[in-house]
Amino acid sequence: MKTDRNGIIPVCIFLIAMLLMSACGRGTSGSAGGGAKDSTLVIAMLGDADYLNPVIGSSVTSSNISGLIYPGLLQSEFDTTSGLLNFMSLEKKFRPSTGGRKPEAALAKTWKMAADHKSITYILRSDAFWDDGKPVVSGDFKFTYRLYGNPLIASPRQQYLAELVGADKHSVDFDRAIETPDDTTLVFRFYKPVPEHLALFHTSLTPLPAHLWKNVKPEDFRSSPLNQKPVGAGPYRLHEWTQQQSLVLASNRKSNLPKPGNIAFINWRIVPDYTVRLAQLQTNAVDIVENIKPEDFSSLQKANPGIEIKSVGLRVYDYVGWSNIDQAAYHKSGKILPHPLFGSAGVRRALTMAIDREAIIDGYLKQYGTICNTDISPSLKWAYNRSIVPHAFDQAAAAAILRKEGWLPGPDGILQKEGRKFSFVLYTNAGNARRNYASVIIQQNLKAIGIDCRLDVQESNVFFENLQNRRLDAWMAGWSIGLEIDPLDVWGSDLKKSTFNFTGYRNPRIDELCELAKEQLVQTDAKPYWLEYQEIIHRDQPVTFLYWIRETQGFSGRIEGEEINISGTFYNIDDWTLRPSSTIAP
């Protein structure tokens, strides 16, 4: 027994010594063995990529990574001066380029839109090759478009095929819709005239190498091992993928689309916990962390002055949704009646005026937030209505409107109308610090004018299901907008078709304006319609638009040449370089 007890102590000492030694050892090798680190960029991400396959990949991470592995028919860039999307082939540009993207990455040499806008013909380059040496041909596109359109594969991008011949009759007629007279000619045919920018956008889906995928049955498509070994032609290729841990891309030395990536390796490391991602950025264990919360900026930069916070936007906004219609009556009989509390545009305007949106921005987002008037982003400059003056924070005016609408203070101080109290529950989803912060301010603001607003936080899945089924009267959520304006899903009057019209807002003029804007064959001709659209939405306040958010990303100081853009943080990642570690202060 004696030896037993005394044996434990030396063992413990030995273990501790070994661990300390290993810790010290790692410390030195970390700085001396800078070689590997100097050639690897490490990006921390919340979750793993799902499929490295452009047909079925659905997460943002997957698209970011697929975009580096697979070649694109065209290169697209976001013109920050106008807010319009530009498309480029090797020899032709849709609009004058504002720099950033390189046309050398495009597979198309040039294109021609037919005079009747019912077909577009691409001429492909003949010097593009898949990594296995086979040329990229027009047949690859036709083959892949069939996959995009196959219901068994359920591609999240199938709406890109919505204008192709046959799509109006529920199934695309691929033999007529896509023609490949030879290996370098690719023709898309539409059932109706399509504006050129939309044709370019919708026909430039990423191809797969047909020779590798042609024997995979559609029902086996998602489980095919080829998804784990993508063969592309872009600046990077997959080097190693340890699922749920890390995904390493290596510069593709053979690539001419546009060229091999500058940084030898890019490691996308999965770190699910936010605090840990921050800690890793602070200790230089990772180089990029996306979506850093504004409250963490100062401590982050104090602890590691090398870190740069970059922001992009504006694509994301938060809003308070008010059910415009009486949901209970709608579910029961399909009848559309105004909501007893929020049915009137006047009341909704008063609610917006009663909420101190500036206070939420100053308290949480600071310079990374801007007041939001409607769902057309100020970044889409060509369509944004600058003449709209935001509803100012004015509780006296809000109270006056409510009085005019018949809402008078009851004995307990809470507003009442026809025996009904102005009292409701504001729902939001769990785990969003920004919305929690905002909801408390909103509650206080509304209390000040005699409205009883209780807060309830729901698990995200539950919250979104309730929202989709139009079961909530008031809620706080957010939208991330696309770079093409298409708001009909969110405001369309046909509530069965417009599945994202959670508020039940209906205004025939909005439907009309959206249709008119879509019909314009020149995108900028739609401007007057969008200006009017914003005036109406601002007047009707179907929801209280709170603020636009600039997304904030933390970058290690050793990254050079990065240009982040509204279309993505990793917009020109193949051009980035890493400064050797010896030149960075620890």
Partner: protein, 321 residues
């Protein structure tokens, strides 16, 4: 004893099966939709419907259950919804060894430290050492693990930078060679195992102390002392053996706690283990993966309890199974 073990094993089959059936219905009745991700503007509404069709979620619930039952009886738990259609057992095969490593290390650390602290407390009852150990143990015992983990990361990974904050290995650890790789792995495991075991060890220490104090008052201990045996022999040979009996049952019942503790730890430290798989599967409403995880953890817990009962009989000859 063999017959007893066999009987218990046979009984556990319907038990686990019942658990799986319950899980099958509960997760389907819970709000949320595995195809919810595909319901967003810009994605055709057909996609969610096609995805549901692929997953077989459009069938009536009893039909889904019969189909599922048929597959499970053939040993097929299906493919994961959220992890690129990987067979669920492949997902688990990758995750289980990590969790088992953490659990085994934690269990060992739990009992080693718990027993040592418990004995010291009991032997030095009512001294400063005892009170100090008791207060410290209670302090750690009442601390939520996830918060403790974050504090450890802030102190040891962020401020002192002694240990890494996440992952199983350093980037490029493959090039360190086998001993280097191993040391790197151990170095990454220090913080999570410490967090998980401190809490458990504190609890076990309380048990050991209590049970030691009870045993020390027994007549046979007085007899042993009266015989003139050295104190060490009295404590370790006569008292400890008897005092450890209730602790052995703890071993079986602490398995579920270690597994549930691993849920937080794996998410916080970014270990791709069972805990993280389970948490992510639940949030994604990945039905096949949730059920397979329940199957694995349920089986381990039932086995853990069985082992505890058997150990009990091994340690105490008075107990006959």
């Amino acid at each position: 004893m063999l017959i007893y073990i066999l009987k218990r094993l046979l009984l556990s089959v319907p038990l686990i099966f019942g658990v799986l059936t319950l899980t099958f219905f509960i997760i389907r009745l819970a709000p949320g939709d595995p195809a919810a991700f595909f319901i967003q503007p810009g994605i055709s509404p057909n996609v969610a419907e096609q995805i549901r069709e692929q997953y077989g979620l459009n069938d009536p619930l009893p039909v889904q259950y019969v189909k599922w039952l048929g597959n499970v009886l053939q040993g097929d738990f299906g493919r994961s919804f959220s992890r690129a259609q990987q067979p669920v057992f492949e997902v688990i095969a990758a995750a289980l060894p990590i969790t088992v490593t953490i659990a085994a290390l934690t269990l060992a650390a739990n009992f080693t430290f718990g027993i040592i602290i418990g004995i010291i407390s009991a032997v030095r009852q009512n001294t400063f050492t005892d009170r100090f150990l008791t207060v410290t143990a209670l302090f750690f015992y009442s601390m939520p693990e996830f918060w403790f983990a974050l504090m450890m990361i802030i102190v040891f990974a962020l401020k002192l930078q002694w240990f890494p904050a996440s992952g199983l290995n350093e980037i490029g650890a493959e090039s360190f060679g086998l001993p280097g790789f191993f040391i790197d792995r151990v170095w990454h495991l220090v913080l999570p195992v410490t967090v998980l075991s401190i809490n458990g060890a504190a609890g076990i220490a309380r048990y050991v102390r209590g049970s030691m104090l009870e045993v020390v008052r027994q007549d046979y201990i007085r007899t042993a002392r009266a015989k003139g045996l050295p104190e060490k022999v009295v404590i370790f040979r006569h008292a400890l053996r008897n005092a450890l009996l209730p602790v052995i049952t703890l071993m079986g019942s602490s398995l579920p706690f270690i597994f549930s503790g691993a849920l937080f730890i794996e998410v916080i430290f970014a270990f791709p283990g069972m805990g993280r798989v389970t948490v992510e599967a639940i949030f994604a409403r990945d039905y096949p993966l949730i059920i397979a995880n329940t199957f694995i953890s349920g089986t381990l817990i039932v086995l853990g309890n069985l082992v505890a009962d058997v150990l009990y009989a091994v340690a105490d000859p008075r107990i006959r199974l």
